[in-house]
Symmetry: C2
Subunit: 206 residues, 2 copies
């Protein structure tokens, strides 16, 4: 049952090192932050030598880019079902998406900063690259949601990429200020959030 106990007594070959490097690195970054992780610490926890990393990743940066990729996947996995709940209104789904996004940032600030900060950049499609919004995943599905809103008249007929960028920026700004400690009004976070969503929807409505 337990992966740990199944491990042999440190055989020469680890067996699953790449996967465990990614997993443990993710955990460490999540808990301690991107600047605290060291390859020596990481490999020590996995019982390998410090340079074993280099058999699976070209550099520390490459490993971290792998962690980022995982992070995006996790985020996308969280978003996609929300957008597909077509029984709910556009506004409700928009709200649910924003909430989930903010919750992720608050629960995993270090991962969030890694994904949306400037230090490491994992190339991925940009908002403007979208083509078929019906099958878009993650953040790109936001565009599809806005298009749907435009069709039913609850969202103003404006370039949906511009709208998506604005909405994303708005929630991203809130998330960033919060997790980076620039908004201290702990008691008012909920009020700020609700006011933001409200203002956003008003603004998007036109």
């Amino acid at each position: 049952m337990n992966n740990e106990s199944a491990k042999k007594l440190s055989p020469y070959h680890h067996g699953n090192l790449k996967e465990e490097l990614l997993q443990t690195a993710t955990d460490m970054i999540d808990k301690e932050g991107i600047d605290s992780i060291t390859l020596r610490d990481l490999t020590q926890r996995l019982g390998t030598s410090r340079t074993a990393v280099y058999r699976h990743f070209a550099s520390k940066e490459a490993l971290i880019l792998g962690v980022i990729e995982r992070g995006y996947e996790q985020l996308d996995l969280m978003f996609t079902p929300i957008f597909q709940e077509s029984t709910k209104s556009v506004a409700q789904r928009f709200n649910a998406m924003a909430r989930a996004y903010l919750d992720f940032a608050i629960e995993h600030p270090n991962i969030y900063r890694l994904l949306f900060g400037d230090k490491y950049h994992k190339e991925r499609e940009e908002l403007c690259d979208y083509k078929d919004e019906s099958q878009a995943t993650g953040l790109y599905a936001l565009i599809g949601l806005l298009v749907e809103g435009q069709e039913e008249g609850s969202i103003a007929p404006v370039n949906p990429m511009v709208q998506a960028a604005m909405a994303w920026a708005s929630i991203h700004g809130l998330a960033s200020l919060l997790i980076d400690g620039h908004l201290m009004m702990s008691d008012n976070i909920e009020a700020i959030y609700e006011y933001s969503i409200d203002a956003l929807l008003k603004g998007l409505k036109g």
Copy 2:
């Protein structure tokens, strides 16, 4: 005329080291980013030994906190006159403030990240600490502007701190996504900005 030429041929005492450390560090961070600056590089440019820093700052972090303090002052200096232009409408001043804020972020992305990122924290008053909004400076003056708007009826009568937080987050999010390379739609930046301001003002109006 030229400070550089006025310097003696490396006398034992530098004369103005603390000031020049702050200035040069600011320049270096502005150009190369916070992670590129090293004390050795910094001191070498000033012609002193690597450890001279420690006669003026307790640590590298302390020096950087000094740079941050300068940054805030620079930003405040930029904002205060905008808010005091009482001939212009609240909306116009709000717009001017947002534009100046964004321009600063775009022109000095590395400084901006230093001020509003998570890595270093210079304690300063929070939005919620404001008391007399009429004499607030910098970002805090935003609250005063919103109060003024509420009094004349152009801004909805809602807790102005909540409104300020939302507005700040909105523009901060846009600035962050832009300078961190997560919004690539270079041609649409202006459109996104104008749409954001528009939606923000609509949202604030109520």
